[in-house]
């Protein structure tokens, strides 16, 4: 314990709307090989423990963790699965190293969403089986309700939400890994088909396939392995009520708590002026505004107008989702958080190509597990 932990290797494959020529195992393998090469490690010899994030129903396989070790080089090693977001997996790897028992741990997340023929029906199985599922509603209705409440309580407008879509999909044009880059206008977004009023179709992230692998190391190994280790300053995660009937709708107390946990470890209480840029949840456009407020970057009601004014653009005061976010690189199921952390690592290493931010030192990644959950995680990283 009390050791610093760093990300020393990153690898990814995708992200693409369809990947008919590869299986999920091949996606994982590709990302893993790149991450191990990036870290300069041999998984069979060097990596001591492995973590995957996955959910059975997304995989179409019961007890999916059976199929995780082979393509990661983890056979006969301590490996386990977390049913959570990629950032939960990252936090798990962080804890494993912090115990002092492990020096080098790999974490993996993937999405093969294009394989799921009935994804809305599968997602509906996450609703309460007694109280909610009999209504036979597409799970987007939870987001519609939440967006409505958020706009009502904070005074944010639909146009401000649409500005998030315009920004993120524009940012994605500079990210070679993002398939949903586009140059849209506010009208393009607002005139799109409705999804769950007031939420529009173009304010929801489309799914994509891909995999992300990261290699984490303790301080000693990190300094030996990497010229550009990215340090984990803090991790936090939290749940609110799973029940739609008793949860808080306008604010995100679980993101607030997760953020405070991470900030406490990182040694600050207010991220404004400390965190240089952020990759935050935008599975739906309004979530970016809501999350930025929960994270403490803005007071409730501030995020909308500031976003519309370009405060969160790539050249703004606080660049948010420079990668394009989920709206730009796609909804990667439980790999989503790792994809956000990936962008933070690339920026902190100075390897983000044409979208590179100047002089960044501290970045934040935050994720949400999607409707209907109240589960999210936060990490603060530094170079």
């Amino acid at each position: 314990m009390n050791q610093r932990v760093a990300i020393v290797g990153i690898g990814w494959s995708g992200f693409r709307p369809l990947t008919p020529e590869v299986s999920y195992k091949e996606l994982m393998y590709e990302a893993a090989v790149r991450a191990y090469a990036d870290a300069g490690v041999d998984p069979r010899r060097d990596v001591e423990s492995f973590v995957t994030v996955a959910e059975d129903f997304h995989e179409g396989t019961s007890i999916f963790d059976e199929y995780t070790p082979d393509q990661l080089g983890a056979v006969l090693k301590p490996m386990h699965t977390i049913c959570g977001d990629g950032l939960h997996g990252l936090a798990t790897a962080y804890m494993l190293i912090s115990t002092g028992q492990f020096e080098l741990v790999a974490v993996e997340g993937h999405s093969k969403a294009s394989n799921i023929l009935t994804l809305p029906e599968v997602t509906a199985y996450a609703q309460d089986p007694v109280l909610n599922r009999p209504l036979r509603l597409n799970t987007h209705f939870v987001a519609g309700l939440e967006m409505h409440r958020y706009l009502y309580e904070t005074g944010a407008t639909h146009e401000q939400c649409a500005s998030v879509v315009v920004k993120n999909r524009f940012n994605a044009l500079s990210n070679p890994a993002a398939p949903y880059g586009a140059n849209l206008t506010l009208e393009d977004v607002l005139d799109g088909p409705p999804l769950s009023w007031p939420l529009g179709r173009r304010e929801a992230a489309e799914h994509a396939d891909g995999a992300v692998v990261m290699v984490l190391a303790n301080e000693q190994r990190a300094r030996f392995l990497s010229d550009k280790p990215v340090w984990i300053l803090g991790v936090g995660w939290c749940n609110d009520s799973p029940s739609l009937e008793s949860r808080e709708w306008a604010q995100l107390p679980y993101i607030q708590k997760a953020a405070h946990m991470a900030y406490r470890q990182a040694g600050f209480s207010n991220p404004r002026g400390v965190v240089d840029f952020a990759e935050v949840d935008d599975l739906y456009a309004y979530k970016e505004l809501q999350s930025l407020e929960a994270l403490g970057f803005f007071a409730p009601g501030e995020a909308g107008p500031l976003s519309a004014d370009g405060f969160t653009a790539s050249d703004g005061e606080l660049p948010v989702n420079v990668s394009g976010g989920s709206l730009g690189f796609g909804h990667l199921l439980d790999a989503t958080g790792l994809a956000r952390a990936l962008e933070v690592v690339l920026q902190l290493r100075g390897e983000a190509g044409s979208r590179q931010l100047e002089g960044v030192e501290i970045g934040l990644a935050q994720s949400w597990r999607g409707a209907p959950t109240t589960s999210g995680a936060v990490t603060v990283l530094s170079n």
Partner: protein, 388 residues
């Protein structure tokens, strides 16, 4: 650099039953409530929650961990669900261990829950989809078949008789007769009863197999400085280990569980155990089938390969023997709500090492115990060593 010490300070469990009236959330709540009461803590004292539950398909709920979170006490708390199939029950305390050992938390609640009866008509069908979608699923295999293969291989490799394997079932079910939460305790069962039970998939017969069950177990973990304030009798987690073998189970020799050996060696090393057969005073190997207890005792280095039946023949494994095996009654006797069954073994060691196991108490003030679980495609071993 020394590891941060982690103790079990409280435990609670529901009755294991075939068909619980309670929902999965209610079962989790009951076990959690009992565990907290046992150490006089409340949810306000709990800093994080770890949940173990096996396939979502039992409940038919996607992201079942999220659904169960409030029942397990995770409202507005850091909460994660870990998952290694059948090995989850002994993995989730390992997850709790690294939460505390990392230094991030001082008090962590660990909950394991399983409600298998929701699956109608029988939970066995949930296992059809654990197999490879291309090479195996078209054959429509089920768990009884593949374990029949493994049991057959074990028997034929070492020339072990069915009578000697049946002794395991008899001893565990007899032990369970003293467990107030047990589903299949039977003080009068005999080897003949096991050998005369219905054949399911030769050589597996009905009494060779643990029952499908519902139930939940919870324990409370605490860091050293807190544990000593909570209780005079903390039980320390001295070693943990886990190992996951290849998914290609058809390419492996099923006669010996190498993954259990690897997990055990990791745990022994952490606990500083050099001679397991002398230093482990109580063993709770995973026993969903009677032959599996034997198989696992060998993987755990507590018996020579092919020699584990002798522990039962000689009485070494009996409750008053030199190394009692499954004094709780194990899965064969107490029941097998999958994830909860593994954590039941941890709770049993907690009670045994504190001298609170009542009629099941192992004599001689045992100092150290080991619990192990196994799962996936005969593929994962999870081991926890506890001592006082």
């Amino acid at each position: 650099m020394g590891l941060r010490k982690v103790a079990v300070v409280g435990a609670g469990m529901t009755k294991f039953v075939r068909r619980a009236q309670e929902t999965a959330k209610e079962l989790s709540y009951q076990a959690t409530h009992m565990a907290l009461q046992s150490c006089e803590l409340s949810m306000d004292d709990v800093e994080a929650v770890c949940l173990g539950t096996a396939p979502d398909s039992f409940d038919g709920i996607h992201m079942n961990g999220e659904y169960l979170s409030d029942g397990a006490g995770a409202w507005r708390k850091p909460y994660m669900r870990s998952y290694v199939g059948g090995g989850t029950g002994v993995f989730v305390p390992i997850q709790g261990w690294y939460h505390v050992a990392s230094g991030l938390f001082d008090v962590v609640l660990v909950v394991a829950e399983e409600k298998m009866s929701s699956y109608y008509p029988h939970a066995q069908a949930a296992f059809l989809t654990i197999f490879d979608h291309t090479t195996e699923r078209p054959l429509k295999p089920n768990l009884l078949w593949i374990f029949a293969l493994e049991m057959n291989r074990y028997m034929s490799a070492y020339g072990i008789a069915k009578e000697d394997i049946a002794r395991v079932s008899v001893q565990h079910k007899r032990n369970a007769a003293d467990h107030p939460a047990a589903l299949l305790g039977d003080a009068d069962i005999t080897v003949e009863d096991v050998l005369n039970s219905e054949v399911l998939a030769w050589p597996v017969q009905r009494f060779d197999v643990s029952p499908v069950s519902d139930g939940a177990v919870a324990i409370v973990l605490a860091a050293e400085h807190v544990a000593k304030r909570i209780t005079d009798k903390p039980v320390w987690i001295e070693g943990v280990g886990w190992s996951l073998d290849t998914a290609h189970w058809t390419n492996r020799d099923l006669v010996y569980p190498r993954y259990v050996e690897y997990a055990a060696r990791m745990a022994y090393e952490m606990a500083g155990v050099k001679e397991p057969r002398k230093e482990i005073h109580i063993a709770e190997p995973y026993d969903p089938f009677d032959y599996k207890a034997l198989h696992h005792l060998e993987g755990l280095q507590l018996a020579e390969r092919g020699q584990a039946p002798q522990l039962y023949i000689d009485g070494v494994a009996a409750r008053d023997g030199d190394m009692p095996v499954c004094p709780s009654g194990g899965l064969l006797g107490v029941g097998n709500p999958i994830a909860a069954a593994g954590l039941m073994k941890i709770a049993e060691l907690f009670w045994q090492l504190r001298g609170e196991a009542g009629a099941r108490q192992v004599p001689g003030q045992p100092r150290r115990g080991l619990a192990q679980a196994w799962g996936d495609l005969m593929q994962v071993g999870t081991v926890v060593i506890m001592g006082r």
